[in-house]
């Protein structure tokens, strides 16, 4: 008995170590559930506020770059407004007012990572501003991510630089669609998968978001083709894509609110009658 106590005294810490590791592994395993529990409380809000303050200060040093980006975006939008488009008016069928399908909310990135294989960022708009999980995030020049969790004034978003976030995209020229999957390496490149080899592609072709997505509107530019190889396993292309969004300098973004997403999802989830 005495020997047993001695043994426990000498090596008890190994057991303690194992217990702590098991707790840590449970936390890793329950990562998503745990996020929801922790992210909604005051501590997380405080941490994000502090990080936001830091970003605010750092912003002053980036204003020149930011102005340039916004000016470029303004120019693009000016080209999109009705007055800068030539339109045929048909006397017989009058054009009806188009329905509003998407709304955009401008907000700022307060914390962002690009170095992990599962990257997240946090924006300074949350439930009170109408942000909900599954809304898309776009940057002035491309796509950025998807909201996964919201607190009162902040939202946690999966970055496009996340190995488990495939995005449905298509080639602008031919409209063939595939899936954009990040390989966890460079934050400037991602891979476009599942484009069949009979499709003609060229270096420099533009890739945009596809019509299948309930998260992003169709036609948001994503990137250009840098190079491509054929995957020997399944015979599809692996297309290396240079992303338009500069994730290492992500500052101002827009939350995309698709007004019909509930309706579309409800229809997709409705089970066919047997």
């Amino acid at each position: 008995m005495q020997k047993l106590t001695q043994l426990l005294q000498r090596f008890g810490f190994v057991g303690f170590f194992l217990i702590l590791e098991i707790i840590a592994f449970v936390l890793i395993y329950r990562r998503n559930i745990y996020h929801q529990a922790v992210f909604n409380n005051a501590t997380a809000e405080l941490i994000d506020r502090t990080l936001g303050l830091y970003t605010e200060t750092a912003d002053y040093f980036m204003l020149r770059e930011e102005n340039k980006l916004l000016a470029e975006e303004n120019a693009r939008l000016r080209a999109e407004v009705a007055s800068s488009k030539y339109r045929f008016y048909d006397n017989k069928s009058k054009l009806s007012t188009p329905l509003q399908a998407y709304q955009f909310l401008s907000c700022k990135v307060v914390n962002n990572t690009t170095r992990q294989t599962k990257n997240y960022f946090i924006i300074d708009a949350g439930a009170q501003q109408g942000v909900k999980p599954d809304m898309g995030i776009i940057s002035p020049n491309g796509i950025a991510g998807v909201v996964v969790d919201v607190s009162d004034n902040f939202a946690l978003c999966l970055s496009v630089l996340h190995i488990e976030l495939p995005v449905s995209v298509q080639l602008r020229k031919t409209k063939d669609f595939g899936s954009l999957e990040w390989d966890g390496k460079s934050p400037f490149y991602s891979n476009l998968m599942y484009i069949p080899t009979h499709v003609e592609i060229e270096q420099g072709d533009t890739i945009e978001t596809s019509i299948h997505s309930t998260i992003f509107p169709e036609g948001i530019p994503v990137g250009t083709i840098e190079s491509y190889t054929i995957n020997p396993d399944d015979g599809y292309y692996i297309i290396r894509t240079k992303l338009f969004t500069r994730f290492t300098a992500l500052r101002y973004v827009y939350v995309v609110n698709y007004l019909y997403s509930e309706e579309q999802k409800a229809l997709e989830n409705r089970k066919p009658i047997p």
Binding site: F17, L27, I28, R31, F39, R115, K118
Partner: protein
């Protein structure tokens, strides 16, 4: 004893601020992703009770898990590093060091001994971290390469911080 706790708390805050606002924002390449907060565990006095050391390591990792939204990855790897510290520390220190209850550091251990000691712990910490983060065995070679590069860079940063935080005298 109280002043030691206050000093350690202040050190923890300083290290956390450096980690969050400077080191974790270094965008060099995906192969170089340093982190320095393990320095807090490395420099704890060598006669810190084993249970206390493991618990402190777990809590340190847990704090960074909350900040970086990583589940329990930091906690798991930091606890592992603390466990290895308990195992290897007798090989690095003399009886005299034990009597003085030194904080492992550049001036108390000597530069080369401290750097070797730090490298082993940082390497184990980084390797566990990267493996848990990517959770795939088939990318082991790139992970090993990434670990070596990142660990060397982290040790360099810890060395610089060590020079800043401690004056050249025996405590």
């Amino acid at each position: 004893m109280n002043s030691l706790i206050i000093k350690q708390l202040l050190l923890f805050f300083a290290i956390a601020l450096i980690e969050i606002f400077i080191v974790s924002r270094m965008e060099i390449t995906y192969l170089l992703t340093p982190s320095i907060y393990l320095f807090f565990i490395i420099q704890l006095p060598i006669r810190t009770p084993k249970y206390q050391l493991l618990l402190l390591a777990f809590l340190t990792g847990f704090v960074f898990d909350i900040i970086f939204h990583t589940g329990g990855i930091h906690a798991a790897s930091t606890t592992l590093a603390a466990f290895v510290r308990i195992l290897i520390i007798p090989a690095f220190l003399s009886a005299e060091d034990y009597d003085n209850n030194i904080h492992p550091g550049i001036y108390t251990m000597g530069t080369s001994r401290f750097l070797f000691f730090t490298f082993i712990l940082v390497y184990i910490h980084h390797f566990a971290w990267f493996m848990l983060e990517i959770f795939k065995i088939d990318s082991i070679w790139i992970t090993l390469f990434k670990t070596v590069l990142s660990a060397v860079f982290s040790v360099l940063l810890i060395y610089i911080i060590g020079l800043l935080f401690y004056k050249k005298k025996r405590i």
